[in-house]
Amino acid sequence: MITKIRKISPWMAWFSGLAVVTAAGASAGVMVFWKGLSLTNLTDMVPWGLWITIDLSSIAMSAGAFSLCAVVYLLGLKRYEAVARTATFIGLLGYTIAVLTLLLDIGRPDRFWHAMVYWNKHSLLWEVTMCVTFYLVVLALEAMPIFANFSWLRNHWPKLSAKLSRVHHYAPYLAIAGLGLSMLHQSSLGALYGVLKARPLWYRPDISVLFIISAVAGGMALTVLASMLSVRATKHANVDNNILDRVSFIIGWVMVAYLYFRFWDALSMTYTYEPGRTEGLHLLTGGPLMFNFWIGEVLLGAVIPIILLLNKRTRALPLWRMLALALVVGGVVAYRWDTNMSGLLIILSYLPGEPSVTYTAYRPSLIEFLSGAGIIGYGLLAFSLGVRYLKVVDHNLEIAHVEESKAVKAIPATGD
């Protein structure tokens, strides 16, 4: 009996470790709400930093949900349904991470609802806010059948559980809504930067294209990676390796498309000197962001994972495949960080004469790191609970799509 109590299971260790990180982050977050943004290293020169990167990245990592749901419910490739289920759960968590980070980042979190009431149709940030809000609702609906799977709920509230799982009949409609909303805001997050004429490096249409392509790759990569890690960590997860292999192959090709556009995007900027833009490009290719760009984004973030994922032999080896997927995720995050920083570290003078360029610097403060880690810790914690109690990674699960194909046609009759 005594030995049983002393023994800490790996699950408990993982769970409590994450709980500590989340709690530390939560206290840092409370400090930020209480003392304000002066606790950060953000300035009027660099008003967006680590948190905006977490925000952009978590939304990108959630893109597996809309892309895989579209594949399953709109293209009709039902064999990916179980992966889409995992992606939907990750998406729900990713968007809550984004909302939490945004609440930290804005100066007046008590006014978060203002965008819903005071519309500015010209503002991409307004459009993103609306899309994120609506998509969070779509994701919550899409995730209802997942929550219906919670055995405690099924035992204690069988009717509620049945109701929740019936939402699955609307999956194709939710997939259309999710696709539309995601196509809008995933690219708008890039356009947010692209429309600013005052920032010559950003002022180009390509960022929006790159944002959505990299989000699709990163989102699917995180989904497959999380599934593979779960199945190695716990017996609560089951995967169909063939399916994950196919998705990984697709990710490899999406990364080829991304690298191709990124290549032209960067290369086209090397022609003619443009004040601010050329200096920004130099920050990336030869300045303080050089390592991030060449190693983080290009070599480790794209070239190596493309080789590992498109080569049949390396893709078949779980360790290589997981490494490649982790690199894709890292590369997408690096791209978000570099995009934000390369535009902000350059200060283009407004004074008369030829526009002159000065540089500034930014390094996140401890409180920014802590609260950021806490929010990510929450995401990992919630995902782990999902794997254990909601079976979010379970490719053997009956999703009842045999009867569903009939039910879809008979939607008016399903509401009793």
Partner: protein, 256 residues
């Protein structure tokens, strides 16, 4: 159950009412915009004569006092930008009150908006503090309240008395052409740019008369006359923002 149904209906009604209020406000706004175009209403502009400016910074200090700005924020910045002959040349920079203001376009909650008189105004009760406008402004004219300003204002009372409410922590703020002075002055029958009480504090405080203020749509105003007689320029005209702050260059001939 029936209660539920009523509340749902009530909710929908509320939604419809909300939507019509929004639609109504849009229509009214559009009508107002049309009116100003048709009647050629007032458009306030500032002229800064760099041949006169000595870089004394009185404008910045008067601005801090009248608008109750914390010491770490400046709505107006005076930068040395070279020399002409033996004299230093300065470029003071208030908010440009752009005709096509990037900050107004990007704000997700319409906290920045155009007044009919062309001034880009801030609604500090609406701003959520996302700082997108700061990033979009090509002139660095916007500042964020990283801290709460709760101490005494070091510029008060030497440089004037606060005329507007202090901004809370967590919102962005910027120069307003002192529209509180303009509006009050107009209500009292004064002429902004002529009567000191109706003119922006920085214009009044300038000891060498380097700043002029007035209605650019009125051909008889001092700004219109000066701009007709001398060559002027605006900052970053290439961006198409169409600022309402005009500069008169310091040139060799105009040196005393």
């Amino acid at each position: 159950m029936s209660e539920n149904r009523i509340s749902r209906r009530g909710f929908i009604k509320l939604g419809v009412a909300g939507a019509s209020v929004i639609a109504g406000s849009q229509i009214i706004k559009r009508a107002q915009a049309l009116e100003t175009v048709e009647t050629g209403g007032r458009k306030w502009a500032m002229v800064i004569d760099q041949s006169k400016c000595t870089g004394c910074d009185y404008c910045t200090l008067a601005c801090r006092a009248h608008n109750d700005i914390p010491p770490e924020i400046s709505w107006n910045i005076v930068t040395k930008t070279g020399t002409v002959g033996a004299q230093d040349v300065y470029t003071p920079r208030p908010c440009m009150q752009c005709h096509h203001a990037p900050c107004v376009d990007v704000c997700p909650v319409r906290a920045s908006s155009y007044r009919p008189d062309g001034i880009v105004s801030m609604d500090y009760d609406r701003c959520i503090g996302c700082r997108y406008c700061e990033i979009a402004c090509p002139y660095g004219a916007r500042s964020f309240n990283w801290k709460l300003f709760d101490g005494p204002n070091p510029s008060v009372p030497e440089w004037g008395q606060p005329e507007i409410e202090r901004r809370p922590r967590g919102v962005v703020e910027k120069c307003s052409f002192c529209y509180q002075r303009i509006d009050r002055g107009l209500a009292l029958g004064q002429t902004p740019g002529v009567d000191e009480d109706a003119t922006p504090a920085c214009v009044v405080a300038c000891p060498v008369g380097a700043r002029l203020f007035g209605d650019i749509n009125d051909p008889e105003s001092n700004v219109s006359k000066v701009l007709k007689g001398r060559t002027s320029y605006r900052l970053r005209e290439d961006l198409g923002t169409s600022p309402r702050v005009y500069y008169l260059s310091a040139t060799e001939e105009q040196q005393p």
